[in-house]
Every structure is written in C-alpha cells, then in structure tokens.
Amino acid sequence: MKVFMTEYLAIDLARELWQCRRCDHEIGPARGNYKEGLLVYDRDPREIHRPLLDPAKYRLTFSPHPRWCRILEFYCPGCGTLVETEYTVPGHPPLHDMDFDIDALKAQWKDRPPMHEPAPAPADEPPLKRHCHGHSH
C-alpha cells in the first residue's frame, strides 16, 4: 500500500520505500532521509525573486540577499520534479524534515482502506440562500 506523504512523495509501506508520486522513482529507504535520494541545487535567490528596484541604485530591491539566504532545490532524479524548496543560510545543513515511525505507520494503515488520491479538502460552504423581498410582488 502507498501512503501519500506530500504532493510529490509517497511511502510504499510493504517495501518501506520513499517514492516519487510523479514517476514512481524509488528515492530511498522509508526509514531514512528521503532527501538523500534526491538531487540538490543551490539556487541564488535573486534568480527567483528578481530585483524590481534597480540594483545599481539600491541595496534592497525585493530580492533576498544571497549571503543571507539561499534556496536549496531538491529534484527527483527520475523526472526532475521540484519536490522541495528549503530557504536556508549558506552552509547550513539541510533539514531532515520528515522522520516517520514506519512500524507505527504500518500499524495505523493496517485497517485503513488504500487511497487512490489524497483526501479532498472539506467542501466549501454552500452560498447562503437569501430570502429577498423585491418590489415586484
């Protein structure tokens, strides 16, 4: 059974593997850090958040300062999907952000029916029916 953990990651419970939800690439052991199975790119934040004010005239331009901020982009090696972005400080160890107890997860899903897609959000409230008195009655 696969459990959908994020938009792009699933855990195959039987095989205890992190998998890409886009291409089924086997990223790595579910008991380990999934990031170790991804590709990483150190993105200069100015390439994403581009300067809107003229950098020749101003120090602060709407772009993050590259010495104060880097964006680590984690790509699936199978399909190139951008699985995670991590806004961090130069040199800071990447976070082991998801560290789940796989035995407990297996026990939890033992009696749950398999899901074919993530659960939907609760339905939006239906619009209120207004009781209107017009002038035409």
Binding site: Y58, R67, C69, L82, E84, P94, P122
Partner: protein, 758 residues
C-alpha cells in the same frame, strides 16, 4: 535563595511547618511578580466540584447545545458592540475579542469573529486575580468588579492590547469570568503607537499594567482612569475604550443571566466545561490519526528592528500516539536591550491560535485545543524570555510562530484519510504597516497604527491560489480599514492606497496571494512621523510548501527632501503612482531616494515626503512547472506577473499580444527545464560534503543553533560566542548609532592620516 533551594528546603518540612512557611511568605511578599506556576501552564485544569456534580449527572445535551448557541450569539453581539463603538483603529477593523471563562478561569468560548490570541491569553491574568486578589483583604472580588491589564509577563501578547476582565456571580457564587480585549495601540511607550522598536528596556515600553481593579460596582474609578490617561499620548482613546470594553462585558453578563434564568445554572456551568472537554477529546483523537514521527522546520528572522542579524527559529513537531510535542529549543537567545523578545505564555497562545486557524479551524475556539500539546523551549531565549527582557515588539517572533505549525503540520496531515481543512502554504507573516504619531490636523496628540497590518497575503492551497491581502496571520475576520475615514482623522494621505503590484508573490503550481503596495505621506501637520516594525528585507519571511517558493524580500522605500504636493501642483506628470517606477526613474528634482530594511524606528516626516511599503505574499505551493499555463496567463492579464517571468520561471510559451498559449511549445520548454534540473542538481551526499560548514558564515551576525540545538552561536567574526542552550544568558547589543559614530570616526581618522601623509 534560588527556587530550587526553596523547593528542597520545603520538602523537608512537616505539613504544619510548611503551612506556617506558606502563611509567612504570603503575608510578607514584597512584590507579586507573575506567578511561574500560572504562567508556565497553558492547559486547562481538572473539573471543579461543581462541574463534576453537573457533568456526572448526565445533563441534557440538547439543553447544553441551546445554551451554547445563546452564548455564541452573545459573544457575537458583544464583538459587534466593541467593533462599532471602539475608538482604537484596532477596534474599528476587528483586532478585538470577547470571551467567557469557567469559574476557575479556563477559556471556554470566544466571539466567533474574534482574534483568538487575545482571549487565549486572558486565562493567565484571570488565574492571577483569582489566586492573589480574590482573597486579599485590600482588593477582594465582588460583583461589578472590572480588572484591567496589559503586561504580557502576566499574560498578554504585547502591551498595546488592553483587556477588561469581570467576574460573574450567581446567588453570591462565582460562576464564570468574561473579558473584552482590544489592540489599543498607544500606551505611553518611548515611541508613539504602542509598539516601540526603539525600546531598550521594559521601562521604555509604556504602561505595564499587572491586573488591577479599575471598575467597582460597574463604575470606572476616575482616579485610576486619570492616572492611565495621564500616562499615554491619547487620553480620549484610553477613556473611551475602557468604557466600550466595560459595556461589552456588562452585556455579556446580562446575556449569561438570561441564559441561567431560562436553562438553569447547572446547564450553563455544564456547557462551559463540556466545551473544553469535548475539544480536548477531539484533539487527542485527531492527533492519534496522524503518523507517529518527527517533522522539523526552521525559519530565520533577519533583524531586531534596530540592526540586521539572522535569528534562528528552530521548531520540530513530534507525534506519538495522542501526544504531540512542539520543540522550539535551539532558537535564538533573548536580547536584553531589544523589544522583540516574547514570553513563553504569549508564544504558546500564538502557537495554539495557529492550530485553531490553520490546522483545525472547525473546532470550537478555546484553550483545550492546546491542552494535549507540550511545548519545549530554552529559558532566556527569544521565545521564552526572562522577566526583565523588553517585549513590546514580540510580534517579530510571534508572527512567525503562526507559520511554524503550518509548515510542519502539512507534512503530518497530507496523508490523512480525512481533512479538516485545506493543505496550506504559509500565510504572509510580518506586521507590515505604518505606525504613526504626532499632532493631528485637529490639534490632537495621538499615536497608533494603520490597520493595513491586516492585509497579509494568503498562502497557496493544494488545489488553488492564495487569496490577495486577505487577513492578518493571527485572525481571519480583521479588515484593513477605510482610508477616507483615516484621512479625516489623521494628517496622512495615501497617494497609493491598496495596489496589487506585479511579481511580488510566492511562485508555485499554485501561487501565494499578493499583498498590496502603499505610498503614504504626511499632510496638514508639521509634527508628525512614522515607523514600521517588520523584518524580512534580506531573508524572505514566508516560505513555500512542497516545492513552492516563498515570498520575496520587502524593503521600505523613501523619497525625502521633497514636498510631493508641490510636485503634484507644479509638474504632476513627474510623479509616478507606482513604487518601482518612482524609485527607478528618480525624476523628482532635489529629492533623496533610498531603500531600507523594514524595521524603521520612529522618524519625523516632513509634509509631502513619501514612504512606501508593500504588504507581503503568502507562500507558493508545488512545482512551478506544474502550474496551469492558463493560470499563468491570467496572472499576466491581471498584471500580477510580468511576461518575462511567465516565460523564464513558469516556462510558458505564449503570444504576448494575445496571451494565447502554445501548448506544445510550453510542454517542450518545461521538459527541457526538467532535463536542465537533472543536469545541474547534484547527488545529496556529494552536495552536502561541499555545502555544509561547521558554523555560520563568519561575517554573518547569526544567533541560534546551527547543526546542534544544544550549541547556540551568537554574533559574528572575532566576537562570535558559543553558548550552552541549557544555561542561556541574554545578549546585549551595541547601539547602532554608537557603531555608526565609531565607523565615521574611524573614517575621519583615516582621512586625517592620509591628509597628514600627503
């Protein structure tokens, strides 16, 4: 003598001896500082004897439900009363709440539209009043009493918020408490408006009201009121809003009496307690539904509002069974002379509010949502500051505290078979607005803030874009105010009021909602000024989710040494009603242009000088390459996105004249970018071997842990220190003006040296 020594000594005493010591200490207390036992316990208490009697007797659930409905109607009514009558800008635009607490002071219900944090924090001062004043012969507790307070060390978010707290009696017995709270703004601090970034000690922060009785027999005591009015810049505001809050509480009491008359006291008491117990049971059930494990997130705050430095907010959530632990250890230490510290109680209340707004918004709003959750902190840290640390601008870490559970819980909740709300990237999380002060065109002294603080952009959801400028991160029903109304009262003119400006968003498969741009200037007053109290000009404040990007970094922009009203009269075409055009073209003759970080302390503003800020965007969700090209085109059409970014970031190929997408070329461009990612991305092990450093970059002023939460780094260069997280001490920062003077003196010395040499 330390608390530990006292505890050990107390353990060796007999019961009689201990009672004697307790009596002695009670009768000889020098100063009733905040009670540690109260202030460090956020959970609701056990049932009272009365609650146990009522609930063990199996009360009629229909009656309890009817009581609940009546109470919520009363809370809604009193919220509207305060909003309609309140004087503070915060009251006019929804930064307020009314609440009902059990006889023991546990929060049971708040006004449905209200700001949860204000009531969520009030159980602390109520418990203080009950413990210390109720039995004190010099104070006591009677029908018609009203207590005021604002000091966050006794339980508040920050000291611009003021509460009215009243006990409610039935046939002589205390049956509950009611409260009304408003973000009042002005409080007599060293800067006008109640949020002093320049405060270097708690004595600079204005009124620090421990809970005291200002209302007796439903009447405001004029002597104490006069003292308060005499301590702030806006005595009219101080008087009017105390009256408004008092009348809201009185109305709540009337409604409670009517409920008891109809359904009986037991149904009322049972309903209050059942509200709490039902939420507690449901939260535990929902925690059990989550996967066991740990999710770790972190955020960086890039300034103290006085200087730029990076402060780490370390956060992890661990779930095991029905237990949830939020671990904030390893975060930045407290600053002994900066006002951005927060107390633990304020932190917990904001974290609890995040759960109520963003994680389980369907639950009744009371404190039980957080009772099953444990919070770990380092004492004397930015997030759990000491009694002596200033905290008037605690919003700096607290606004982030709403985001931290959003980031973490998305990774716990994505897999859930049932969702209670959407999966959400972070809302924008900075208190961006103008705080102002001075003498108005009506010759009144005032100081307060603009309600634009409520215009934060919403985060993207897993199935749709974020809402633009939707609400503050701390509440969902607050408005941004009527500009014309403000301009009637204040010598402030909006040259641009609320303009959504392009390219300032969290990009992603679904993008964050934008904030809006504002241009503001002073008019009709020569004694006026502004401050801003934000961070995030170097390091973005709101991050994205699951591959989405965060918000950009927002600067403050100024055009000084010019009177824009003269320009508009003589040469209006020179002016640009757009921040980017105005700043990049620099067309106004003689004007001085500059951009600055968002933490501007109070600054006098001459008439016609222009100050510009942009409210922030929420985080984006998912990979930009998965964004529907038609949604990209919609953003271009609505001028939220420039065509260049549509091509270069979203890889959409389209005709710029018609905005018709070339689907095949777009698919090819996106495939090519995916291949480019595979080419430039490096295997993790290889990457971290080059990337990771043993400590923060040497030249970066950094505060907080790096790879080990037990080791706290503080400072930069040669003066950088390592601190033990278990024995943290506060950091004292140098005055930035002293540093600047030293820098200039060194330059002068160098110039003189060169001159002498020449």
């Amino acid at each position: 003598m330390t608390q530990q020594t006292i505890d050990i000594a107390a353990e060796s005493l007999s019961d009689d001896e201990r009672a004697l010591v307790d009596d002695f200490l009670r009768d000889n207390t020098l100063f009733l500082a905040p009670d540690r036992e109260i202030m460090r316990n956020h959970a609701h208490g056990p049932r009272s004897r009365d609650e146990e009697r009522v609930l063990s007797g199996e009360p009629d659930p229909h009656a309890l439900n009817l009581v609940r409905g009546r109470l919520y109607a009363a809370l809604d009514e009193t919220y509207d009363m305060v909003e309609q009558m309140g004087t503070a800008p915060g009251a006019k635009w929804g930064d307020l709440v009314t609440g009902i607490y059990t006889a023991r002071g546990d929060l049971s219900a708040i006004s449905p539209k209200g700001v949860v944090v204000f009531s969520g924090i009030c159980h602390y001062p109520i418990k203080f009043i009950a413990k210390y004043w109720a039995k004190d012969p010099t104070v006591g507790l009677s029908e018609g009493d009203g207590f005021i307070h604002n000091d966050s060390r006794y339980g508040n978010i920050h000291n611009t918020d003021q509460s009215m707290i009243m006990p409610v009696f039935h046939e002589g017995e205390l049956i509950c408490w009611v409260s009304s709270t408003i973000h009042e703004g002005e409080n007599g601090a060293c800067e006008p408006g109640g949020m002093p970034a320049a405060a270097e000690s708690k004595w600079d922060e204005g009124l620090k009201m421990s809970p005291f009785r200002i209302v007796e027999d439903f009447q405001i005591r004029r002597d104490l009121l006069t003292y308060l009015q005499n301590s702030v810049r806006d005595p009219k505001l101080q008087y009017e809003d105390i009256k408004v809050k008092l009348h809201a509480c009185v109305r709540l009491i009337e409604r409670i009496r009517a409920v008891i008359a109809k359904y009986g006291k037991d149904a009322f008491v049972g309903c209050l307690r059942k509200n709490i117990e039902d939420v507690d049971a449901e939260v535990r059930r929902r925690i059990r539904e989550m996967p066991d494990g740990t999710v770790r997130v972190q955020a960086f705050i890039d300034g103290t509002l006085r200087e730029n430095c990076l402060m780490k907010w370390n956060f992890s959530v661990t779930v095991k069974g029905e237990k949830m632990i939020l671990d904030c250890r390893g975060s930045c230490p407290e600053f002994t002379n900066r006002s951005i510290n927060t107390t633990l109680a304020s932190l917990k209340t904001c974290l609890a509010t995040s759960y109520l707004i963003y994680i389980w918004p369907d639950l009744p709003h009371n404190m039980a949502v957080f009772s099953p959750i444990e919070v770990l902190t380092d004492e004397n840290s930015l997030l759990d500051a000491s009694f002596d640390a200033p905290n008037a601008m605690s919003l700096t870490p607290l606004f982030k505290s709403f985001s931290m559970p959003i980031y973490a819980m998305a990774k716990f909740l994505y897999s859930a078979p049932k969702r209670y709300t959407s999966v959400y990237a972070s809302h924008f999380n900075q208190p961006f607005t103008f705080v102002y002060g001075g003498i108005t065109q009506h010759s009144e002294v005032t100081g307060n803030f603009c309600a634009d603080i409520n215009g934060n952009g919403g985060g993207a959801r897993f199935d749709r874009d974020g809402e633009h400028a939707v609400s503050p991160i701390f509440g969902y029903m607050c408005d941004t105010g009527e500009q014309e109304f403000n301009e009637e009262e204040l010598p402030v003119l909006r040259l641009v009021s609320q303009h959504l400006s392009k390219d300032r968003m969290g990009f992603g498969k679904y993008r964050g909602g934008l904030g809006y741009e504002q241009m503001i200037t002073a008019r009709d007053s020569d004694v006026w000024g502004f401050m801003t109290g934000g961070t995030g000009s170097f390091h973005p404040s709101a991050y994205g989710l699951f591959g989405g990007y965060g918000s950009p970094a927002y600067p403050l922009a100024k055009v000084k040494d010019v009177n824009v009203f003269d320009v508009l009269k003589s040469n209006p075409r020179q002016f640009r009603f757009d921040m980017v055009e105005l700043m990049n073209e620099q067309a106004l003759e003689g004007a001085t242009y500059g951009t600055y970080h968002m933490g501007m302390t109070f600054e006098p503003a001459a008439q016609g000088e222009v100050y510009m800020i942009c409210q922030g965007s929420g985080g984006g969700y998912g990979d930009v390459l998965e964004r529907d090209p038609e949604l990209v085109m919609k953003d271009v059409e609505e001028e939220l996105l420039s065509p260049d970014l549509a091509r270069e970031l979203y890889f959409v190929v389209f005709d710029e004249a018609t905005l018709i997408v070339d689907a095949a070329a777009t698919a090819a461009a996106r495939d090519a970018e995916r291949k480019a990612r595979l080419a430039r991305g490096r295997p993790y092990a290889e990457f971290v071997a080059d990337w990771c450093t043993a400590e923060p970059p040497e030249d970066l002023p950094y505060y907080g842990s790096w790879d080990d939460p037990k080791v706290i780094w503080a400072g930069q260069g040669e003066t950088r220190r390592q601190l033990d997280a278990d024995t943290l001490a506060g950091i004292m920062m140098p005055n930035p003006k002293d540093l600047r003077i030293a820098e200039l003196e060194a330059e002068i010395a160098e110039l003189k040296r060169r001159q002498a040499g020449a």
